[in-house]
């Protein structure tokens, strides 16, 4: 059990939750499975990328999550001192860039949460963040101390107007760049296509409906290299050219 040390809104529908104690040896891109104890509905844990590792007394982790259903809705209503059940860290995270590689991160909405620990570890590069409006862009706030941040909003209320994928091409530039991306799967598919065209290394963090998070329920299958692989245990980070994007669900 972990105790909630904070849980507050950071952007429309999005919350930042701190939990203590933390979990051991988190790699950037790994996730935890969280469940509110006590009831049978919702039954299953929910996966969340580890957003941050907290130092100090007992240590801790932070997640940034969006309310999308009953489980996350209940999480948003929890307060400081409440307890949740945390399993993890789970999955395989992002590989680090090569010594001379340029780093470009591409994030859609709350997908940015899975890139934050990586950004802290790397400490340079460019983040291209896409959101609906300027309030969504608050999700990228923490990255400003770590790297160059470029905002794209659908309504043009901040940064450039449009979809983040329209600006990926100019950002990637040439060889010698490594791309890390997380967001909706349609966005990831486009980013992957651009990266593959340019012959640039690109890693994507995927989501999937999963029950266990440890590779046994076989729920979160994704077609990769012609076979089904599991988002939770083979990923959630995959090299973009491994994924069979045609076989992806919406």
């Amino acid at each position: 059990m972990a105790r909630i040390v904070h849980n507050y809104p950071v952007a429309p529908g999005c919350y930042r939750m701190g939990l203590s104690p933390g979990v051991d040896r988190v790699e950037p891109g790994q996730f935890v499975m969280i469940r509110i104890p006590g009831g049978l509905d919702p039954l299953l844990r929910r996966p969340f990328s580890v957003y941050n590792v907290l130092r100090g007394r007992g240590g801790g982790i932070e997640i940034v999550y969006k309310v999308v259903g009953r489980g996350t809705g209940m999480m948003a209503s929890l307060g400081v001192g409440d307890e949740v059940d945390v399993l993890g860290p789970l999955g395989r995270g992002f590989p680090m860039p090569g010594k001379k590689e340029r780093v470009v991160m591409v994030a859609g909405g709350v997908g940015v949460a899975s890139l934050h620990l990586l950004a802290k570890r790397i400490g340079y590069g460019t983040l291209l963040f896409g959101g609906r409006n300027r309030r969504d862009a608050r999700l990228a706030g923490d990255f400003r101390d770590l790297m160059e941040v470029k905002i794209v909003t659908e309504d043009g209320s901040m940064g450039r107007k449009g979809f983040v994928t329209e600006f990926v091409e100019e950002e990637i530039g040439e060889e010698g760049t490594v791309v890390y991306a997380c967001g909706p799967s349609a966005m990831l598919e486009k980013v992957s296509c651009i990266a593959m065209d340019r012959g640039v290394r690109c890693y994507v963090s995927l989501e999937g409906m999963m029950a266990c998070g440890m590779g046994v329920c076989l729920g979160c299958a994704v077609k990769a290299d012609g076979a089904y692989r599991m988002v939770c245990s083979d990923g959630p980070v995959f090299r973009c050219d491994e994924i069979d994007w045609q076989g992806m669900d919406g």
Binding site: L40, L43, A211, C212, L218, A221, D249
Partner: protein
């Protein structure tokens, strides 16, 4: 009287059970498809504390399984349509079983096939393999077109599969029954006639969940199998019905989350139980159930766990 019993019994209670010739150290197993090949859980518990591990269903050749989405959560449960993805019996024996042997837990191999010959071929390959305590015949998976439930809903087909496996192996046989039948008693008698040594039930209940915006199934297939606490009362009832008919031991499955749930199944007639979906929620559940049954026995002055089986007062 209750307060006297709370202080419980001194000394050890006997949790061991005999299931169709398999001597297990306790009645708690893990249900096929919810515990991988067992090894995945070794970080979370000492597997040799379990009665047995029932591994993911094995077919003759590897199977890719169904496209995603494969699972969806429903109130107090989940639907799955995995489609029996597995590495195949030979890869299991070669790559997974040696690791399991090292963990010193009884291993039951769940097997299935698209036809009777495949069932018996898989059973034959496992016969005499060191580290396998028994086979569980899956005639009840709702998520594959051939095999699976086709054998699980027709008594004469079920008998045919079981007797073919009986001829192919000297290992104890458990037959896993489907709840998607009118009269479970008929199925019990059929698989007993085929030569099964025990029965386990229930497998998942065929069910549906629909995305009303897209007007499509929430799974890649129209239907899936419902599991979890939502199905427990149905499972308890069917175990009770099966127990009244069966000559062989009954293994209870269906939504067990706690020791209390497991004990309920045993009172209804189960000689042993399997923990399924709960393994996803908390990987330590099966071990917690073992410990909880032991505490209950001490509290109630029960010396042998078998005394619980079928102890329902009517």
């Amino acid at each position: 009287m209750a307060s006297k019993k709370r202080d419980g019994m001194r000394g050890a209670v006997d949790l061991s059970v005999d299931i169709g010739g398999m001597r297990l150290k306790n009645p708690v197993m893990t249900a096929s498809g919810t515990f991988g090949y067992g090894i995945e859980f070794a970080d979370y518990m000492d597997l040799k504390g379990l009665g047995a591990v029932v591994v993911k269903g094995l077919s003759l050749k590897p199977r890719a399984g169904n496209p995603p989405p494969r699972i969806v959560e429903t109130p107090c449960g989940m639907l799955n349509s995995i489609g029996l993805q597995n590495i195949g019996v030979e890869a299991f024996v070669r790559d997974k079983l040696p690791l399991l042997r090292g963990l010193r837990v009884s291993v039951i191999a769940n097997i299935f096939g698209e036809d009777v010959d495949e069932y018996s071929e898989v059973a034959r390959i496992l016969d005499g393999v060191r580290g396998i305590s028994g086979v569980e015949i899956n005639i009840s998976c709702p998520n594959v077109k051939k095999g699976g439930i086709a054998f699980g809903t027709d008594p004469s087909e079920a008998r045919r599969v079981v007797s073919a496996v009986r001829k192919a192996t000297t290992l104890p046989i458990i037959t896993k029954l489907s709840p998607n039948v009118g009269d479970i008693g008929t199925m019990v008698r059929a698989v007993e006639d085929g030569g099964t040594d025990a029965i386990s039930l229930i497998n998942t209940i065929t069910a549906m969940a629909i995305d009303i915006e897209r007007k499509t199934s929430k799974l890649s297939q129209p239907t899936g199998g419902l599991s979890g606490p939502a199905i427990k009362p149905i499972a308890v009832r069917m175990v009770w019905e099966a127990y009244r008919t069966a000559r062989v031991p009954v293994i209870g499955i269906g939504g067990i989350m706690t020791a209390d749930d497991a004990i309920e199944f045993m009172i209804a007639g189960a000689a042993a139980i399997q923990v399924g979906t709960a393994n996803f929620v908390n990987p330590r559940t099966a071990m917690d159930v073992v410990e909880g049954i032991e505490r209950y026995m001490k509290r109630h002055g029960i010396r042998k766990v078998g005394e619980l089986t079928g102890s329902l007062k009517v």
